[in-house]
């Protein structure tokens, strides 16, 4: 039996994939290095700017935003002050700012790509049938795998980190945008149509406003997923809190690993609660 199975030659999937990658890297290298350099400069600029803000002011501003966003409750604001002071106290402020930049960039790119894709998906069954399996693929593929093309295209550093994070964090925004628009009650869609709305008018005046809270839930997920890629992205040289976790792991420094991990958790909680409370308004 095995002989029959063995007589089938190995299908060259890996080789094909490599050929494609080789072709892409050699033919589009100019584009990739342009993105690499431009992205790196932009992100360094943002990080430098964040670092140049005095930590006290940064912490107070975040606390104020938290206070306003949670409708004048003190809980999140106090948590933000204590948590961010802790991170500063542990000497991880610069790493935190690097992580902030990474999360901001990958979330924004994921949202910019994700919302139009979600809209397309909600409007066309063909698009939905094509995009859905790709999203499933993106979500089930282990995050590490995205590091390989990222490195191939962009080398090491923060840009490939963002690239891998975007791929990993994109699906929820697409899915929830699609879901939100499809959930708009039929009668309201009919009302919009019956008054002679164009497709754009219907989308902007009726569908997107009604899908907003569902879409925000997806965006919240996207932000958190891109945050969870921080540690993985540090393996290809993305700076930030993830790098601290990684180096603690490599040197078996339990204490340092714990502090860096805890800082990430604090940051994640602040980001999560903030994005959620924006949705509640």
């Amino acid at each position: 039996m095995n002989k029959i199975l063995d007589s089938i030659p190995t299908v060259p999937v890996a080789e094909t994939m490599e050929t494609i990658m080789d072709w892409l890297t050699s033919n589009l290298s100019a584009l990739f290095s342009f993105i690499q350099n431009g992205g790196k400069n932009a992100m360094n600029f943002i990080t430098d700017m964040l670092i140049s803000i005095p930590p006290v002011i940064f912490i107070l501003v975040i606390a104020l935003i938290a206070f306003i966003a949670t409708k004048r409750k003190f809980g999140l604001a106090i948590f933000a002050i204590v948590g961010l002071l802790f991170i500063y106290n542990q000497g991880l402020w610069e790493e935190l700012m690097n992580t902030v930049t990474l999360v901001i960039f990958s979330s924004i790119i994921a949202i910019i790509i994700g919302i139009p894709l979600g809209i397309l998906m909600s409007k066309s069954i063909v698009a939905e049938n094509i995009i859905k399996p790709i999203l499933d693929f993106m979500q089930t593929m282990p995050g590490f795998v995205y590091l390989i093309p990222a490195v191939a295209f962009f080398g090491i550093g923060v840009v490939p980190g963002v690239f891998a994070s975007v791929i990993f964090a994109l699906p929820p925004t697409v899915r929830f945008t699609n879901l939100g628009i499809r959930q708009v009650p039929r009668e309201l869609v009919e009302a919009a149509d019956s008054y002679g709305s164009t497709g754009w008018q219907k989308l902007i005046k009726v569908e997107l406003p009604l899908a907003k809270s569902t879409m925000m839930a997806g965006i919240n997920q996207t932000v958190l997923l891109s945050l969870s890629m921080v540690v993985i992205a540090s393996m290809i040289g993305a700076p930030g809190l993830g790098r601290e976790v990684l180096s603690a792991l490599q040197r078996a420094q339990v204490g340092n690993g714990f502090v860096a991990g805890l800082s990430l958790v604090i940051f994640a909680i602040i980001v999560d609660r903030l994005t959620q409370s924006f949705n509640k308004k």
Binding site: E187, L188, D193, S194, Y195, G196, T198, K205, P209, L210
Partner: protein, 399 residues
């Protein structure tokens, strides 16, 4: 003048539409076609025309295709075959822009569950049709406010629809449709989600409005009473087919077939309504205690001209009239024995309204409702008729 003309329109949902259409041409019925092809018939070979300024009611039970039919008129649903003419123009042949122009300028729709946009204020909802037409902000606000003012809703213009009651929400829905100043109003079960009393008010308002504005109104309902009340002409639908078109009078006196007849009979609630459902609290005098002056005072308080007479065991004795009581009081009589009349008919609470209708329509005075010799209620002509009307509505709206 003909405003809307529908010619042999058929709508088929599902797969195998072409083979189903052939079966329609062969006059096969809905269940046969479903069995053979798996396709569902929404509307089956419908033809009718609606005159300008007319209220045309399309009536049928759920699943009869009435909501599909009204959506064919503004092409929210595209017909599988047949043609629809608005002002002589075939809208089935129009491109998107032309169709949009028709929807923007000629017809507005009112929805069963109001179809208001929850994130927009009452005013912004009312402006919607004008907004998508690209009318400048100032002008559309002016028009929308005028429409809201007509509906008595101007004070609520900055509220969200969820802050209003159902009846008020539907007034907003109607104001939104009218703000557009369309020729044609499509009303899809517009009042069905409202409770019976509000519904009646809304029907009255619609009729008043129609006196003023003279729109062509297509009104969808499953409620025969509603159809009879507001429809100039009524089309009855069953299984996607139009069975009969005519004025309410024509349909009532000359039902086209057994289905229409049973439909009308089902709606006739007098057959199941009992006296107990329609009687009201009796206003009485006690013949053993009360004199003519007490009787007169009570009549004045309760604003009636007839009192029922009972003894202290609440046994029914007869009745006295205001004129007689006045005479007796003038004569200085101390009791009502001399003016007590006994020629009032009495009925029992478990009798059917249908059976007492004859008695009550001939009698100029109310009927006493008596159970085991005791007076339990009174039947008044007006109340009986009113309860017949409102009960029918409740029953049919729970279909």
């Amino acid at each position: 003048m003909t405003k809307i003309k529908v010619e042999n329109v058929t709508k088929i949902f599902g797969k195998h539409i072409n083979s189903a259409l052939k079966l329609v041409e062969q006059k096969k019925n809905k269940t046969e076609i479903l069995k053979q092809t798996g396709a569902t018939i929404g509307v089956y070979d419908a033809s009718f025309s609606v005159n300008e300024g007319e209220i045309f009611v399309i009536m049928g039970l759920s699943g009869s295709g009435k909501s599909t039919l009204v959506r064919l008129l503004n092409h929210l649903i595209e017909p599988t075959s047949g043609s629809i003419y608005i002002d002589g123009e075939n809208i089935s042949k129009m491109n998107k822009q032309q169709l949009r122009a028709i929807r923007r300028e000629k017809m507005s729709m009112v929805f069963q569950n109001f179809g208001l946009f929850p994130q927009r204020t009452v005013l912004a909802n009312t402006e919607y049709g004008l907004e998508v037409r690209g009318i400048p902000k100032e002008e559309r606000t002016k028009k929308a406010e005028a429409a809201l003012d007509n509906a008595g809703l101007l004070p609520y213009k900055d509220q969200l629809p969820s802050q209003l009651s159902g009846g008020m929400q539907q007034r907003v829905g109607l104001a939104r449709a009218l703000a557009n100043d369309p020729d044609i109003l499509l009303m899809d079960e517009a009042f069905s989600a409202l409770d019976p009393l509000i519904r009646k008010d809304m029907q009255d308002e619609l009729l008043d409005l129609q006196q003023k504005v003279r729109k062509t109104i297509i009104f969808i309902t499953h409620d025969l009473n509603e159809a009879l009340r507001i429809g100039d002409r009524i089309a009855l639908m069953k299984d996607g087919k139009i069975i009969q078109i005519g004025t309410g009078e024509e349909i009532l006196t000359n039902p086209a077939n057994d289905y229409v007849r049973t439909f009308l009979e089902d709606v006739d609630r007098s057959k199941v309504l009992t006296v107990e459902n329609a009687m009201i609290r009796p206003i009485s005098v006690n013949v053993e205690i009360d004199g003519p002056k007490v009787a007169l005072k009570r009549m004045r308080e309760e604003e009636v001209s007839v009192l029922l007479a009972i003894d202290k065991n609440r046994e029914f004795k007869g009745y006295i009239t205001a004129d007689d009581a006045l005479e007796a009081a003038k004569r200085g009589e101390k009791n009502v024995d001399s003016i007590l009349k006994t020629d009032m008919e009495s009925v029992t609470p478990d009798m059917l309204i249908q059976d007492v209708l004859g008695i009550i329509s001939e009698s100029s005075i109310p009927l006493a409702v008596v159970k085991e010799n005791k007076l339990v209620g009174v039947l008044i002509k007006g109340v009986v008729i009113q309860s017949l009307a409102s009960d029918t509505e409740e029953v049919t709206s729970n279909e």
